[in-house]
């Protein structure tokens, strides 16, 4: 195991205030992620990511809900694909949703930009695994 421990920032993109609150609370209690940013829709998140002011303060991982007003998760995925190469650091992208529709699941899983599709409510142990992989990038191989 690598001795290096990274500071990990997670971003949550979801219009569901209760879910966002729960996410903050749970990760706080479990000591997952060092910092949480939240955005209530895709457009807000894209605006944040592309604003040069924030270039030193970008998340390491994004959890993006599918059903949102203004810019939904699908539209965010496309917009993210366009700006990805201009970002100063790699950001892992997860889609999250309550939808168990296979069409939605496959659409997300087929997208090479999307690391995985997580069903709500989120599985705590999977979140822990995601966090540890980001905290110790050297151990990535162990999990892949």
């Amino acid at each position: 195991m690598s001795s290096e421990t990274k500071f990990v920032t997670a971003g949550i993109v979801d219009d569901d205030k209760i879910f966002t609150y729960g996410f903050r609370k749970l990760t706080g209690i479990k000591g997952l992620f060092n910092e949480i940013l939240d955005f209530s829709n895709g457009q807000e998140a894209i605006n944040y990511l592309t604003d040069p002011i924030n270039s030193q303060h970008l998340p390491d991982v994004l959890f993006v809900d599918i059903n949102m007003p203004i810019m939904d998760g699908w539209e965010f995925n496309d917009a993210f694909g366009e700006i990805k190469s201009q970002l100063p650091k790699p950001i892992k992208l997860y889609n999250i949703s309550s939808s168990i529709d296979l069409e939605d699941i496959n659409r997300a899983k087929k997208n090479p930009l999307v690391a995985d599709y997580l069903l709500k409510p989120l599985d705590e142990s999977y979140l822990t695994e995601i966090f540890h992989n980001l905290q110790h990038p050297g151990d990535q191989l162990k999990y892949n």
Binding site: F19, I29, N67, S98, K120
Partner: protein
Amino acid sequence: MSFTDGHTFSGESLSHIAHLIDNKDIGIWEYNTDTKQVKWSAGFYAVLGYTRGEIECSYSYFFDHLLYYQDKQTFVKTTYSPRHGGPRTAHIRLLTNNNGYQWFESTTHRRDTSEGVVMYGILININAIKIAQVKTAESELQALEIGRIAKIGIWEVDSRSMELKFSPEVYDIFELNNHIKLSVPEAIEFFMPAYRPMIEEAVNQALTLCKPYDIEVEFRTAKNNIIWVKCKAVPVLDEYGRCETVRGTFQDIDNVKRRGLSLQSSINLLDDQNKRLQNFAYIVSHNLRSHAGNLKFMVELFEESQLAEDRTEIFQHIKTISGSLSATMGHLDEIVKIQAEISKGTKLVEFEKIFANVESALQTNISATEAEINTNFSQAPVINYVPAYLESILQNFLTNAIKYRHPDRQPIINITTYKDGNNIYLIFEDNGLGIDLQRHGEQLFGMYKTFHQNSDSKGIGLFMTRNQVEALGGNIAVESTVNVGTKFTIKLV
């Protein structure tokens, strides 16, 4: 010229000829009407399968025992004096020794001699030919019957002369009782204008490229009935592979086609309803799942939290979720009610009156936003509709127009009705935010789809409205420009 005119046969030759005839299955007879004397040749016995002496050689025996009773009249007519001009030849059935009744061609001649009137005749067995004829006639009749029953006609076009021939059944379908001959362009004129280019091209391609065709088109008969017909053709090639004739069938398929078309529209309707139901089930499942998921999430957090203030906060969220769950269930009830309201039936309602109710219910919102509302229901003041729906539809569109007003200007909402034939339309026009139809057009009427960051957007209104409108057979069209406004055209009936 008679056979014997130019030649004289010696007695010797005559017996040869008689011998020849006797061996050729030809029977010869002679009857003297005065003396009643009858003579039958050896061939006569032979063609009937008897031997001389086996049967009584008499006119009465022939008439009573050999000649089939139904053919007696026919035979007698051939024995009349030539003065009557009757036929010389008849087809009659005679009882043979071994094969029952068989068909014979009987030719009778009459000669007045010094010994009285002598009749003589020839019998030839034509049973095989006759049977074949009967069979052909039967199968022709069957073919005609099949064509008539199945309403299938047969036609052909000669590629050189372009002569067009129809079977009687084709004329029946054309409803041309006089069976006049038509040219190809004349026949094409009977097809409905929309299909003429298609049929012209099909005929030309069959003639020039030997391409068969099978098409279903609309057709106007001579009696002005519009029917669906099936027109099928195959080219008949000559030895060089060129099209000699185009031959085909012509069939009245009106009943089947109309049933098929109405079936197709039922399928489309069912398909639409099915899609809506599926979408509905998906949304309900998604929303219930997300509330249930959040509830589970909060309950777990509640258990894990140690701090009293955290617990209070989490409990507040649990209450919110409980409220959301109830609201979702309420939306479900409303959707179920759409069908229930329909069963209560439609009534003649006035737009003016219903709109007044809606306006007073929304008065607070209207005054708060200083919205200018112009109505003109004069083109179609009344409609036969489910009253609860009309109220709900007007309320939803008015609520939306106010909710999605443009922040920089006073909302102006124009509501009009008009009539087009039997249809009544309702128009809602606003100068609000507008919707990017390119992006959201598909989802506009979906449940819980919201496009504006507006805290009171629930995404249920347009979904409900569309269901109500469509449940009564109408539809909604939308035109919109972002930052300019939106126009909904609702076909109510």
